[in-house]
Amino acid sequence: MQTTDSPVAPREVHTYYTKVDRVFRGFVAAAALFSLVVLLLIAAFLLYRGFEIFADFGFGFITSSKWDIGNPEDTSTAVLGIGAMLVGSVITAFIAIIVSVPFAMASALFIEFYAPRFLRTILTAVLDLVAAIPSVIYGIWGYVVLLPLVEDWSGTLYKYLSWIPIFDVQTPIFGRSPLLAGLLLAIMILPIVTSVAREVYGQAPRDLIDASYALGGTKWAGIRTVVLPFGKSGLVGGAMLGLGRAMGETVAVYLTLNLVFKTNFQILASAGGNVASLIANKFGEATAYELKALMAAGLVLFLVTLLVNFLATVIVNRSRKIV
């Protein structure tokens, strides 16, 4: 008998499964592809029901900001467009990201590098728990507790910063505004972004960090030069996951943003909306034609969030592979 030390590639072997296993494998495959079926059906049905709207308004459905049913008997008098709501979705989600990402970074760094070890497990558990708080509870808290605070802050912001256009308002009455909705969304998505950031920061190469300590660097120097650059793409991925969640959030925005059909960039003003809260708002008393428009709006929202989440997943997965 001789031993040879040459690299051996495993031989390709084709297994022929027994009848029982062929049935089993087919059954499991069918169940697994169920999710594909559902996703396709969602897109298909929304398109089917909303098609008339796209036919009637074309691209204007996405750009126009008017929502007027006109004469319910005569659908040609209707002018329907979700432009204002799309802008609103973007603005509130944007505020949410701008506010939450720095805090998420700080929280992730704190949990991973500054907190004492026993606290780390507790904080991770708390983070998971807070991420699971239902949006309706965030909504009611936002409406009752956060609203008066933001009203105060809006007043102060208006007093000193109204020369910046986004902080200006027509009437200095501050209530359910894009700022309030954006801040609430920031609080809601923070746990997700923090979790992803913490995971990525935790995988930063410890040997490089130790090397920076050995060279006389401080903890912050180590973080700044090794951890943050390493975690950049993971953080972006996490932020995009949060973005996806923020854009699709319904109840929290419904309760903290006054639905007005006018594109509004003044974040302190009591006007705005996002596509999801539009659907929830108009659903109760919608005419048949309006319902089709809501379906069309749902399709747009579906495609947009699908795209954002797809990008987010790609980025997060790529950042994981680098490890």
Partner: protein, 212 residues
């Protein structure tokens, strides 16, 4: 009903040339340095790992033939393995473990339990029948693993270091159990061990792997 294996076995970076055949009734001891390929040999015969080149045949039928592209998956080969790490199913009881192979072949629950009990008696573990596999001691688990392997009356019995995890005190009694099982076994048995006492007392002939 000869088992013959000729060709190269290996997985990963090394390959090893082998060429031998075994007749029923023989107990062949396989010895060699650590890493020589003893476990790989067991896995190849059992069908867990394919041969690199060459063939494994039993009773004239190819179980694995690299040239003619034949492959019989492990569940179809009439082989049974006692793994070095035993691999009892932890959530099942001892008797459920032993009966597993029988149930896989379609034997009824009652019949399987009856047969399994017989095998447990052979290895002296019938009192452990309803105990969960995860709570068995080393020696007890070894007996159950042995019973599980012989439960389906395989044509080829493969034992990978059956006594390596046992402490010196229990080794004697356990070696007797293995000897009894091998005596009653009518098929082909392969015993891999690094302990020369095992091979000396249990095997009818020895093959050394990796030596010149």
């Amino acid at each position: 009903m000869t088992l013959s294996i000729v060709g190269d076995i290996g997985k990963g970076t090394h390959s090893l040339s082998v060429d031998f055949s075994i007749e029923p009734g023989e107990v062949v001891g396989i010895v060699g340095r650590n890493g020589a390929g003893k476990t790989t040999l067991i896995e190849t015969i059992a069908g867990i790992v394919p041969m690199v080149t060459g063939s494994v045949a039993w009773n004239g039928t190819d179980w694995d033939n690299a040239v003619r592209k034949m492959w019989v998956s492990p569940e179809e080969r009439r082989c049974a393995v006692v793994f070095q790490d035993l691999r009892l199913f932890p959530h099942m009881t001892a008797i459920q473990n032993v009966a597993f192979g029988l149930r896989a072949r379609g034997v009824s629950k009652v019949e399987a339990r009856h047969l399994a009990m017989q095998k447990l008696r052979v290895v002296g573990a019938e009192h452990l029948a309803d105990r969960r596999a995860s709570v068995l001691s080393g020696g007890e688990a070894q007996r159950v693993a042995l019973a599980r392997a012989i439960a389906t009356d395989p044509a080829v019995l493969l034992l990978d270091e059956p006594l390596s995890a046992i402490d010196a005190a229990s080794k004697e009694s356990l070696r007797e159990v293995v000897a009894t099982v091998l005596q009653q076994f009518t098929g082909i048995a392969l015993l891999v061990s690094h302990d020369p006492t095992d091979v000396a007392t249990l095997a009818s002939r020895t093959i050394t792997l990796g030596a010149r």
